[in-house]
């Protein structure tokens, strides 16, 4: 307590800063990248502490960050902004599973969502590089509701499975396997471009192998030529 701020560590200074902001028991607490400049392990420690404090005091808190991991860790609700516009409000899972446009889809989630240009092969069917993609009923309904011909399929790296290559599958060549503990990030070159897939460690392929890709039907997203989601743009998020 008797020490000068110049004698404090980064984490201690940040605690003093937060304490000073709280001492008047404000109705609302505004934080601007409070942890941005700290080291990774300190950030993780302090964000849990901020969240603990916030839950105990119950003060409405608005927290600005560019770090999606931090937002997911600390917030009840996340407001995604771009170019001065609010893109979407929701819980982390809303943003992750029900992004309203391509910006949110690409910005949230790590490694980022994979985007594949698609061709329409019927009123409610699509293909990637001539390979028919099985779509769920809601997606089929969304397809029937639009005449847009420049559609882009979006799929999270963990919604793609690797299978034995075969005709009728989008096949790709493994160019890189990056271990990440219990899973691995696999980078593939396919006729539709570079695709990133997350697989459990014990199922990871060798670099150089040719594999087939299948997509989890309920994990598919479809964006129109204005980059809006055809599935989640109509309803507002639940947050």
């Amino acid at each position: 307590m008797g020490r000068r701020p110049s004698r404090l560590s980064g984490g201690e200074k940040q605690r003093v800063g937060i304490g000073r902001a709280l001492v008047r028991e404000p109705a609302m607490f505004l934080m601007d990248e409070p942890l941005g400049h700290l080291e990774a392990y300190l950030r993780v420690e302090l964000r849990a502490e901020i969240r603990r404090l916030q839950e105990r005091l119950g003060i409405t808190t608005i927290y600005v960050t560019h770090d999606q991991e931090e937002a997911a860790a600390i917030a009840d609700r996340i407001v995604v902004m771009s170019a001065g516009r609010l893109q979407q409000i929701g819980s982390f899972l809303d943003l992750f599973d029900r992004p309203v446009n391509r910006f949110v889809a690409e910005f949230v989630g790590e490694p980022p969502m994979v985007f594949l240009p698609v061709d329409r092969t019927g009123v409610d069917s699509i293909a990637v590089k001539g390979i028919q993609i099985p779509v769920s009923e809601p997606l089929r309904a969304a397809l029937r509701a639009t005449k847009d011909s420049e559609l882009v399929l979006g799929v999270r790296p963990n919604d793609i499975s690797l299978v034995t290559p075969a005709a009728g599958h989008l096949n790709g060549k493994v160019i890189l396997v990056q271990p990440q503990g219990d899973h691995a990030i696999v980078v593939l070159r396919t006729p539709a471009g570079t695709v990133t897939v997350i697989v459990p460690s014990d199922q990871r392929p060798e670099a150089g192998a040719t594999v087939g890709l299948t997509f989890a039907g309920e994990g598919l997203h479809l964006f129109d030529s204005a980059a809006k989601s055809l599935l989640y743009n109509r309803e507002e998020s639940s947050g």
């Binding site: 839950e55 999606q68 992750f96 989630g109 980022p112 271990p179 990440q180 503990g181 219990d182 460690s201």
Partner: protein, 370 residues
């Protein structure tokens, strides 16, 4: 291309011993990550390799040459820093060509050779279109490519990288990791990459060197470090999420060993019992993979009551951190739970894959039968 060999390397800054005896062999053509928390000595080691610091003791060999007494320019290394360190008054071409003009180098290059090297390195890094741009006009990723190109343009025997992608945003980080690794595969240059990010080290390193307090804690491939950590420090530092390290008490009842974890007494199973044979009435550290810790019901057997310390989303999974006798325990669940900090939960631990550590040395206990 060359093998790099360090023997007994030491470096001291005043009262601080930054490197306390480093022995390391880096195979020719390998991509090696030096990983550790800040202050572990990884950056000092890189600077000693580069010749930016002079070692107090020990030998550094690049290929067949001892280089520890040589000036940086004579070591045949390429260096790229976190902050790029590009020359702002030069365009991309000027930055790439700069090392070829350096007057102190033995080999001099004529203009034709310089032009050829610049265009081939620009093609390699896919920055041909940027050659005439001033570097201030480049994005972060482009600057990083120019810095890499400059480091590689003299075909160095060793490429040294100091936190090359850490400061980029998440998406660019992912892209640059892929690019870096593919580039290194293509050129085949022995590469030493300093990072504090264990996921980055796992994604890139053929070998990972884990450092702590000026010493090497363990050297191994990512999978080996995750599966068979040599010490409790490595266990708690590597993995996504890393293993949880618990301090437990030991109690023997007749022939049965019991682990005292918080308020609970648990049976560790045959394997762990055997590992802990010979330890009595003392605390030992045990590491558990996150998958082996789950939420249970209070009336289940073999459970531990605990309080939620933090909860956060990691992709579609909820990561819950609880504290047991001061050590954080991480677990992940697919359940959609609305938890609050301080909530009481019951956790269940499976000790089948647990590691135990020697309380004296901190090193992993291995059973004689593997």
């Amino acid at each position: 291309m060359a093998e790099v060999r360090l023997n007994g390397v030491r470096k001291r800054f005043g009262p601080i011993e930054a490197l306390r005896g480093i022995d390391l062999v880096i195979p020719d053509g390998a991509y090696v990550c030096l990983l550790g928390p800040s202050g572990c000595g990884k950056t000092t080691l890189l600077r000693c390799l580069a010749g930016l610091e002079i070692v107090d003791a020990g030998e550094i060999r690049i290929g067949s040459r001892s280089v520890e007494a040589l000036e940086p320019f004579a070591r045949n290394i390429g260096l790229a820093f976190q902050n790029y360190a590009l020359y702002p008054h030069l365009d991309v071409r000027g930055n790439l060509a700069f090392p070829l003009h350096a007057p102190r180098h033995r080999t001099q290059f004529d203009n034709k050779e310089i032009e050829q090297r610049v265009s081939s390195i620009a093609a390699l890094l896919q920055i041909e279109g940027l050659l005439d741009k001033p570097v201030v006009a480049l994005s972060g990723g482009q600057k990083q490519r120019v810095a890499l190109g400059r480091a590689l343009i003299r075909n160095p025997a060793v490429l040294l990288l100091d936190e090359p992608v850490t400061h980029l945003d998440a998406r660019l980080q992912h892209e640059m990791r892929v690019e870096l690794k593919l580039l290194q595969r293509r050129v085949g240059t022995t590469t030493i990459h300093v990072t504090h990010d264990q996921l980055e080290a796992q994604a890139l390193g053929d070998l990972i060197v884990i450092m702590r307090d000026g010493l090497i804690e363990q050297v191994g491939a990512a999978e080996e470090l995750c599966r068979r950590p040599a010490t409790s420090f490595v266990a708690s530092f590597v993995g996504d999420p890393p293993m949880s390290v618990l301090r437990v008490g030991l109690k023997r009842e007749a022939d049965t060993l019991l682990l005292l974890v918080g308020a609970a007494q648990l049976r560790p199973g045959e394997r762990l019992t055997r590992l802990l044979d010979g330890f009595h009435d003392q605390n030992v550290e045990i590491a558990l993979p996150a998958n082996d810790i789950s939420l249970g019901n209070a009336d289940d057997e073999q459970t531990i009551p605990a309080r939620v310390q933090a909860h956060e989303w990691v992709g579609r999974e909820l990561q819950i951190v609880v504290a047991l006798d001061g050590s954080p325990i991480r677990l992940r669940t697919q359940q959609r739970l609305a938890l609050r900090i301080g909530d009481e939960v019951t956790i269940r631990a499976n000790f089948e894959r647990a590691q135990a550590f020697d309380p004296k040395t901190g090193r992993t206990l291995r059973s004689s039968i593997v």
